[in-house]
């Protein structure tokens, strides 16, 4: 398998601890890799480095063996890109914009482009200036996908999309994956990454602090979050003393949320026999929960 994205000690130091630091990525063809992190974690900087828009202050990155800075123009043939900030050129409508873009790519409007337009339900006659955020985002997505590039770099691709369109987007991702397309996407919505990504990198202060592999997915899903509400203060005290891992305590509503492995359930229920409880709910741990916990730890 060839490496679509390979970086070695890739660094862009903006000083004051901002930027990305010592990034080592190796993304093989046909995989979908997500990168998550809070605002300012360095997701956009990573994308811009891979696009050759920024000159790294250290290390280097390659797209399919081509250096992303020195051979930027050649790598663009391999990349479909959705920028993190959507701003369209000064042109009339979605249609003129797509046509201009196809001209720049030296491609023509074919069946696939029309299919994409239909899939995202885009009204091409709409004036660019009056487009809603979601509409712009969908047009930007069509722009990236219509390149039929073997690598898609999508910076927060689902921002502004409604749930139906988000599903359409996920379907499309899975479809292009089946064709061997490599996708590298960033998001701050962990749950949507869960449905598409083979691997999720967790970026914090410009460094990758955690990588979620399929095995780790399983392990995360093997945990359950149990929220228990005690009837009285005495019950709450007992709950707080419990030996299970507590992720949240709410003295006011006398609620405790504990994180347990599935096989610990009988033990938990046994302990609850001594407590008068008014409510209990059980959820499988999601990536959101996991990262929430990780964020608190790091």
């Amino acid at each position: 398998m060839i490496s679509m994205i390979a970086t070695e000690h890739l660094t862009k130091d903006y000083k004051q601890d901002r930027g990305v630091f010592d990034l080592n990525l190796n993304i093989k063809q046909g995989t979908i890799v997500g990168i998550v992190g809070k605002n300012g974690a360095g997701k956009m900087t990573t994308m811009r480095l891979l696009m050759g828009f920024l000159h790294p202050t250290g290390g280097h990155s390659e797209i399919c063996g081509l250096d992303s800075w020195t051979e930027a123009a050649r790598t663009k043939k391999l990349i479909g890109y959705v920028p993190g900030e959507i701003a369209f050129p000064d042109t009339k409508s979605g249609e003129t914009f797509l046509n201009d873009q196809l001209a720049l790519l030296r491609a023509s409007k074919d069946q696939y482009v029309n299919e994409l337009i239909q899939r995202f339900k885009i009204d091409l006659t709409a004036e660019i200036k009056r487009m809603s955020k979601g509409m712009k985002q969908k047009t930007a997505l069509v722009c990236a996908f219509m390149t039929r590039a073997p690598l898609l770099l999508l910076d927060e691709p689902t921002t502004g999309l409604d749930p139906v369109m988000r599903d359409a987007f996920i379907d499309l991702i899975l479809q292009v994956k089946a064709n061997g397309t490599t996708v590298f996407l960033s998001s701050h919505m962990f749950n949507e990454l869960e449905r598409t990504c083979d691997r999720i990198l967790f970026l914090r202060d410009g460094k990758i602090v955690d990588t979620i592999t399929p095995e780790k997915f399983k392990e995360i899903h093997n945990h359950q979050r149990v929220t228990i509400q005690a009837i009285d203060a005495a019950g709450y005290k007992l709950l707080v003393k419990s030996r299970f891992e507590q992720v949240k305590t709410e003295p006011n509503s006398r609620e405790v949320t504990v994180l347990i492995q599935r096989d610990q359930m009988p033990a938990l229920l046994k302990q609850l026999e001594d407590v008068a409880i008014s409510d209990i709910s059980i959820d499988t741990q999601t990536l959101d929960n996991y990262f929430e916990k990780e964020l608190a730890v790091h």
Binding site: R48, M51, F53, L54, H55, A72, A73, R74, K76, K77, I79, G80, Y81, P83, E85, I86, A87, F88, P89, D90, T91, D100, Q101, A103, L104, L105, R106, C143, A144, T147
Partner: protein
């Protein structure tokens, strides 16, 4: 050079170019048709109006073709295509130079035509040289604005440097022009502006001093377009 990009740039800036060229042509035709044409066409039109009006187009379009699109973020779509940054810069440069050639080409035609119609008494060669000189001023302005637009990622900085410098040159030229009317103390001011490198008086007297002076303007243009292209190819783009 990228033709699709050139076409987009042409379309995006057509109205400002067309309007500037139209106003300049009408003014020139009008002034030539009046009496006292030597004063009106010389110091008034080529000395002040032509540089000031063309600066409108140069500053607006020059700012828009690079810095404006980087600032707005729409440059991302151009840079997504497999086009080298140098090619992007050169294409935008070709647009600027090409439109100025068109503007002054049209003005030359208008000047020669009006000269014939109203018998204003200019030699055709003088009119051609006047427009060539004015074109060189515009070219130097375009280079300055291009460099500013290529260096900065924000339009306010591009405007605040390139745009301001061009306006300063025009103002100094206007102030300096009063030395023609006997204010001797203002002679030195003419040395502070590149506009005075276009010696329209010498052209109208059919002298030979004006041509070497234009080389100064050509030098400014070559340097600024060169700097702009180089910087744009190497800088960080926030796209």
């Amino acid at each position: 050079m990228s033709f699709p990009l050139l076409k987009q740039t042409f379309k995006a800036n057509f109205s400002v170019w067309g309007l500037t060229t139209l106003i300049m042509s009408i003014l020139l035709g009008q002034l030539m048709a009046m009496k006292e044409t030597v004063t009106l066409v010389g110091p008034m039109f080529y000395g002040m109006l032509a540089p000031a009006l063309v600066a409108l187009f140069v500053v607006i379009a020059g700012n828009r073709i690079l810095a404006g699109q980087v600032d707005q973020g729409s440059m991302a779509y151009i840079m997504t295509a497999p086009i080298r940054r140098t090619t992007v810069a050169i294409t935008q440069m070709v647009y600027m130079i090409g439109s100025l050639i068109a503007t002054y080409g049209i003005m030359t035609v208008v000047a020669v035509a009006v000269n014939h119609l109203v018998d204003a008494g200019f030699k055709t060669a003088v009119l051609v040289n006047l427009n060539f000189g004015a074109f060189m001023v515009a070219l130097a302005f375009a280079g300055i604005m291009f460099a500013a637009s290529a260096i900065f990622n924000r339009t306010k900085y591009a405007m605040g440097t390139g745009g301001l410098l061009i306006i300063a040159f025009i103002l100094l030229a206007i102030i300096g022009s009063f030395s023609n009317y006997g204010v001797k103390g203002l002679d030195a001011v003419q040395n502070l502006t590149i506009v005075s490198l276009f010696d329209f008086k010498n052209i109208m007297l059919e002298g030979s001093k004006w041509l070497p002076k234009l080389a100064g303007l050509a030098g400014v243009a070559v340097a600024t377009f060169g700097i702009g292209t180089t910087v744009f190819a190497k800088k960080d783009l926030p796209l």
